[in-house]
């Protein structure tokens, strides 16, 4: 627009009085004045100073905040372990490290033993590996219980004997000891599978038998 006015001002100066129609455009005079004013050194400096100011800028601070929040969030929350989980097992507490060959104090019946206490003989489960593969194992429950063919069957047998808190049916309380007796050559995988079956059945006192 300014350029147009400039051209018109220039043409009126060169075309002569015939084309003197500048009266119809009263702004031309002002435009010329403005143009001259605009190119005065002081105005030009001020104008350049104004135009050199940034008009629009992205606010980087919140973006960096968010990026760092993300960084810290992933650092703290991610877990790169190979999805390891754990079975909690409290080992039997031994009185002293050198007491292995001495008679255990726990075996002697305490003097104030309740004569009507229920038998706390543990459920003994023998676990034997017959091969290296996952399906090569044999289970045996000592006592008059159905013999399980698999770890799933062992879980069902144990769960069916658990006292149901609603109906009261069942033989064993959930804290009844379940003793797993892997043979020396049983793989750790089968030992843990048996442990898992007993824990899944609802027993809270599952222990491994010590080898002789």
């Amino acid at each position: 627009m300014t350029r147009g006015r400039l051209d018109r001002v220039t043409s009126t100066m060169t075309d002569g009085p015939d084309s003197f129609i500048i009266d119809d455009l009263p702004s031309d005079d002002q435009a010329e004045k403005r143009l001259l004013k605009a190119h005065s050194p002081r105005r030009a400096r001020r104008r350049e100073a104004r135009l050199s100011r940034p008009i629009m800028a992205l606010a980087m601070t919140p973006m960096i905040d968010v990026v760092f929040q993300l960084l810290v969030y992933f650092l703290v929350t991610t877990n790169f372990a190979s999805h390891e989980e754990f079975f909690r097992l409290d080992l039997p507490r031994v009185e002293s490290a050198t007491a292995e060959n001495e008679p255990s104090a726990e075996l002697a019946s305490p003097p104030d033993a309740d004569p009507f206490a229920l038998d706390r003989e543990p459920i003994r489960v023998l676990v034997t590996s017959t091969g290296a593969e996952s399906n090569d194992y044999r289970l045996e429950i000592v006592g008059p219980l159905p013999q399980p063919e698999s770890f799933e069957a062992l879980r069902r047998v144990l769960r069916d004997r658990l006292v149901d808190p609603q109906t009261g049916a069942g033989i064993y309380q959930s804290n009844h000891p379940v003793m797993l007796e892997p043979s020396p050559a049983t793989t750790w995988e089968h030992s843990v599978e048996a442990f898992n079956a007993a824990v899944r059945a609802g027993y809270t006192n599952v222990i491994f038998q010590a080898l002789p």
Binding site: E85, L89, R93
Partner: protein, 162 residues
């Protein structure tokens, strides 16, 4: 006026004046996200002691995820050619022989840990093919170490959920 023309013509390209310095955000965001991905992939928390082992993978395990309590990892590393036989016991950068002397040493080491942290839980990681006769003495050594410190031995048996 003639001096003003060239300046105005140049400014027709940059209507608001000469080019201004602005920060280019794209590479910064690129680098930031690369950093995020890098840390997501490589960082390890508390699993520095995790020796690569083929842990047992029970079907439908009733296990619990790891908690943040004080813990030490004991890895029972099998022999390379026969994974049913133990090769070494590794814990917190230390190596113990799987014989009687090594287990005694382990027991003493654990006793000192139990004294400083009575609520310590030991994560026992054993290869799935390892025979029970090699695992049981370690559990006994743990119990012995806790007995020396007069505390209850608490153990986490590590498995992998498939």
């Amino acid at each position: 006026m003639s001096a003003a023309h060239p300046r105005r013509r140049r400014s027709r390209v940059y209507h608001r004046g000469p080019a201004r310095v602005v920060a280019n955000l794209t590479p910064m965001i690129d680098i930031s996200f690369l950093l995020i991905v890098f840390f997501v992939l490589v960082s390890q928390f508390g699993d520095r002691d995790a020796v690569p082992l083929r842990l047992p993978t029970p079907v439908d395990p009733a296990s619990t995820p790891p908690d943040q309590s004080g813990r030490t990892v004991i890895s029972l590393v099998p022999q390379a050619d026969d994974s049913s036989v133990i090769a070494s016991i590794q814990t917190a950068g230390r190596d113990f022989a799987p014989d009687r002397a090594g287990r005694e040493e382990l027991s003493l080491h654990l006793a000192s840990l139990y004294r400083s942290t009575p609520e310590l839980r030991l994560n026992v990681r054993a290869d799935r093919r390892l025979q029970y006769r090699f695992v049981e003495p370690i559990l006994r050594a743990v119990a012995d170490g806790a007995a020396r410190a007069g505390t209850t031995p608490r153990v986490n048996l590590a498995i992998v959920r498939e």
